[in-house]
């Protein structure tokens, strides 16, 4: 279980305290709602302000850290997860949040997703999936549906898109959920569960790009005539990966909520155990003495 929210800190974490620059996203972008939902969750959890770290790679959604008044780092395309891994493993005292889009997570950084998942690195990763490359103005993304017309596929995309839920299941992520930027309450609840999960938690959040893929999620947006159907956990066992796989296989728009959640030791904990086990045999020698003895062994 993750460290429980700290009850009393000197500073109350409010939306105002968490707000930094005004987002540079286009008016109507789904990411505004994701940011608003994230403020709400942090207000609820009340972690110490200085212990919150926001990490991102490259893309529209990856500008996220600039809009949060927290420790933040805007890294290179596709490598947000390994950077966050370095932070998470070397600083067990901080809460690591990673933000990015479908290009960052499933294309240029696809390999890192597999490995962060299988190693179960303690962090929460929010993928704002808009099925298109928006920052570079409409090229095909790894989640663009077949037939999607873009500047790199003027006749329509011919490549089968990635199914994020299936990929995450196969790679061994211990918390996998799907939510929707037009459903604020669902987002807030899902983010909270993801953050409280002790391990690698991933939330795919459908977030519409109104400039380059307008209407992409109409089929899951009730006010556009779609259906937003959540997972009924009285019927779905979140520890059953086969059931989760079947849920992930539903045709668009599919279902929303927690697909899969299991407890498995994090790499953070396993590394810490190894450190403790190793140090237990050293009789409290200082680092300097340890190295001195190591060098003496070369005489």
């Amino acid at each position: 279980m993750s460290a429980p929210p700290t009850a009393a800190t000197e500073e109350k974490l409010t939306k105002k305290a968490l707000t930094a620059d005004h987002p540079t996203w286009c008016p109507g972008c789904g990411d505004f709602a994701v940011l608003a939902a994230f403020y709400k969750v942090l207000e609820k959890l009340q972690y110490p302000h200085e212990k919150i770290v926001c990490v991102a790679g490259i893309g529209c959604s990856s500008r996220f850290p600039y809009f949060m008044n927290t420790h933040g780092i805007h890294f290179i395309h596709g490598r947000a997860l390994p950077l966050a891994t370095g932070v998470s493993l070397s600083r067990p005292d901080v809460h690591v949040f990673v933000f990015g889009g479908d290009g960052d997570g499933f294309s240029i950084g696809g390999n890192h997703l597999n490995h962060a998942a299988r190693k179960n690195i303690k962090m929460t990763y929010v993928i704002m999936d808009n099925y298109v490359y928006g920052l570079t103005k409409k090229q095909t993304s790894p989640t663009s549906p077949v037939g999607f017309k873009s500047k790199t596929d003027p006749a329509g995309s011919i490549d089968r898109p990635i199914n994020p839920m299936k990929q995450l299941l196969a790679s061994g992520a211990t918390f996998i959920a799907r939510t929707h930027a037009a459903q604020v309450k669902h987002m807030v609840d899902t983010f909270e569960r993801a953050i409280l999960h002790d391990g690698f938690s991933v939330v795919e959040c459908l977030s519409e790009c109104v400039m380059f893929y307008e209407g992409s999620f109409d089929d899951s947006t009730p006010r556009k005539g779609g259906v937003f159907e959540t997972i009924d956990e009285s019927q779905h066992n979140v520890q059953d990966d086969i059931a989760a796989y079947q849920l992930a296989d539903l045709p668009s728009p599919g279902k929303f909520g927690v697909f899969y959640q299991v407890q498995r030791p994090t790499k953070n904990a396993l590394e810490q155990q190894w450190i403790e086990k190793t140090q237990a045999t050293q009789n409290g020698q200082s680092g300097r003495d340890l190295l001195r003895r190591r060098l003496e062994g070369m005489r």
Binding site: H49, K51, H71, I76, P82, T85, G287, M298
Partner: protein
């Protein structure tokens, strides 16, 4: 081969130097006995330098391990050998020509059937395999024949038997008891094997009377230096010849409370390392040339975001997969200029095994002080070469890592224009706004900025800190003549070789000097003062002369100083410089 090496006649009583070349296959354990001889040298106040070639095959293949033992200073691993130990016919055929006139060849008489009696070479056939099998109890396996040979050499050179036995006990004692017993049986059999009276092969007493001498290889000493420098985190991906450093760090860092992560690829490795650095730790990644190429985008980021970071590149023969187990120094340009954009960073190269320890400390100090990436360019020759030297004094050379989580004042700026960046890591309370670390061009607060003037000012800032470093670096000392006809310049593992070449050229009456550069980017300011009193300069480096006729460092020096008297002595045959090569090629410039 040095004239001073080995006895010149049976009448001579003692040896100052001897080069022993062990030639066999890579699984025969010749590295292991070569390492024991090198360690013995360190324990008997002698100097030593070793050299090895390794096949890049998965198992087997011809391999050599050469040990140059000396009572005085040993600057190079030796061109020709005084003693050849040939385990197979192919070993004999390949290496007999590298045995000096009048040298001694021990060969496995069960394997080597044809020997050439020429150049006064003394051939001594010994059934290494059969005698080992007999000594260790008659199983048909020849494991231990390397130890048999060690025993034989120990008797031949009248080396300190007790000390060798002690090293063997330490090396094999941790394994199954029978392993040590068999090793000692093989050793004693080799020691007792009659190879005739060669009582002239006795070393002079060693001159290194420091009782705290250790012997080790370059990769190990880099890892030890990193630990002493306070490095506790990092990540890497396995690649020859870097891997042994990450293996040591993975095993040792937990003792010091740290973690070394094996990443899924080079991109993740450098990114995790930057993550640990951003989190407030000094962290290290490393690789060989191909892996350094993969890290380049992130290294540009670290320059832009001004993140202190250590990167080790153990160079090997390139380009591409190239010659993974051979030496080359062809990554200098890549290390300095390999990334996109103008991204100043520091590049250093250790000069010998001992320096691997100290350069790690210096790199760590510079990374912290200048808040930028520091690349250490080692190479394959240094990575596996064993040398003996004084044990580092940890009272002087030890940095306790510190995580600075002190609260930062209201006016904190991550990227001040008038000072070097000092990041506030996560966990530090901010009285003002929280900092954003950014790879976008940014203003002093870390806000993205497309302002042309700001980009120029920030470019100036990132460059000028290293210009300031350049001015603070001392000029290298000149070995040999302080003025004359030729100044040889080297970097990396060639340091000892050019000094030895200068010694020989001066003995022939030439006026020559040698200077070695450890700081390759920035270089010390005012290098032209170094060569002002020499008619010509030649840069000896293990890379190609390229399209314009100059090696990589020579090209940089010519570009920086517009100095036409700078020449190149380059080669890329996968081997280190032989002294004779350097002498001959220098003479052409004299």
């Amino acid at each position: 081969m040095s004239q001073s090496a080995a006895p010149t006649g049976a009448s001579e009583r003692t040896l100052r130097n001897a080069v022993i070349r062990l030639a066999g296959n890579s699984q025969d354990g010749i590295q292991s006995i070569g390492g024991i001889l090198a360690r013995l040298a360190g324990r008997t106040a002698q100097d030593v330098m070793t050299y090895m070639t390794i096949p890049s095959t998965i198992s087997g293949g011809p391999s050599i391990f050469q040990v140059h033992l000396g009572s005085g200073e040993v600057l190079h691993p030796g061109d020709e050998s005084d003693v050849l130990v040939a385990f197979y016919q192919h070993s004999y055929d390949s290496h007999i020509s590298a045995l000096r006139q009048g040298g001694i060849c021990f060969y496995d008489s069960g394997e080597v059937t044809e020997v050439k009696h020429e150049r006064g070479i003394v051939h001594i056939g010994v059934p290494f395999t059969a005698a080992t099998v007999e000594a260790t109890g008659g199983s048909a396996r020849d494991r231990g024949k390397n130890i048999f040979v060690l025993g034989m050499l120990c008797a031949f050179f009248q080396l300190d038997r007790e000390k060798i036995a002690g090293i063997l006990a330490r090396q094999f004692g941790r394994k199954d008891e029978s392993v040590l017993r068999n090793a000692m049986l093989a050793f004693d059999a080799g020691y007792a094997y009659p190879v005739g009276d060669h009582s002239q092969f006795v070393f002079e007493p060693g001159e290194h009377l420091d009782d705290k001498r250790i012997s080790s290889d370059g990769n190990t000493m880099l890892a030890m230096g990193l630990i002493a420098a306070g490095v506790r985190y990092g990540s890497a991906y396995p690649i020859t010849p870097w891997s042994s450093i990450m293996e040591i760090l993975r095993t040792e860092l937990p003792r010091y409370g740290g973690i070394y992560v094996q990443a899924e690829d080079e991109l993740a490795a450098v990114s995790m390392t930057i993550g640990a650095a951003y989190a407030g730790h000094l962290a290290v990644t490393g690789s060989a040339g191909p892996g350094l190429s993969l890290k380049m985008e992130a290294l540009s980021y670290a320059s832009m975001a001004e993140i202190p970071l250590l990167v080790i590149n153990v160079q090997r023969g390139g380009p591409s997969t190239g010659m993974p187990t051979s030496v080359e120094q062809s990554d200098l340009m890549q290390a300095i200029y390999g990334s996109h954009g103008d991204c100043p960073r520091i590049v250093l190269a250790p000069q010998d095994v001992e320096d691997c320890f100290y350069i790690a400390l210096e790199a760590a100090r510079l990374a912290r002080e200048y808040s930028c990436p520091v690349i250490i360019l080692s190479d394959q020759a240094l990575s596996s070469r064993i040398e003996a030297f004084s044990e580092p004094d940890l009272q002087k050379h030890w940095i306790e890592p510190q995580l600075d989580l002190s609260p930062r004042a209201e006016d904190f700026k991550p990227y001040p224009l008038d000072a070097i960046t000092r990041h506030a890591p996560p966990g530090a309370k901010m009285a003002g706004k929280y900092p954003h670390v950014s790879g976008l061009e940014h203003d002093e607060h870390g806000h993205p900025s497309g302002n042309a003037r700001m980009h120029q000012r920030m470019t100036d800032k990132r460059r000028d800190k290293l210009v300031a470093l350049s001015k603070s670096l001392p000029l290298p000392e000149i070995h040999g003549d302080q003025e004359g006809d030729l100044l040889l310049i080297s970097w990396g593992s060639n340091c000892g070789q050019i000094k030895e070449a200068v010694n020989r050229l001066r003995a022939e009456g030439h006026r020559v000097g040698a200077a070695h550069l450890r700081h390759l980017h920035p270089m010390p300011a005012g290098l032209d003062r170094l060569w002002a009193k020499f008619k010509k300069v030649a840069v000896a480096e293990l890379n190609d002369v390229g399209l314009y006729g100059y090696g990589q460092l020579a090209t940089l020096l010519r570009a920086a100083y517009a100095e036409p008297k700078i020449h190149s002595i380059c080669k890329t045959d996968g081997l280190t410089f032989r002294i004779s090569e350097l002498v001959t090629r220098s003479e052409k410039l004299l």
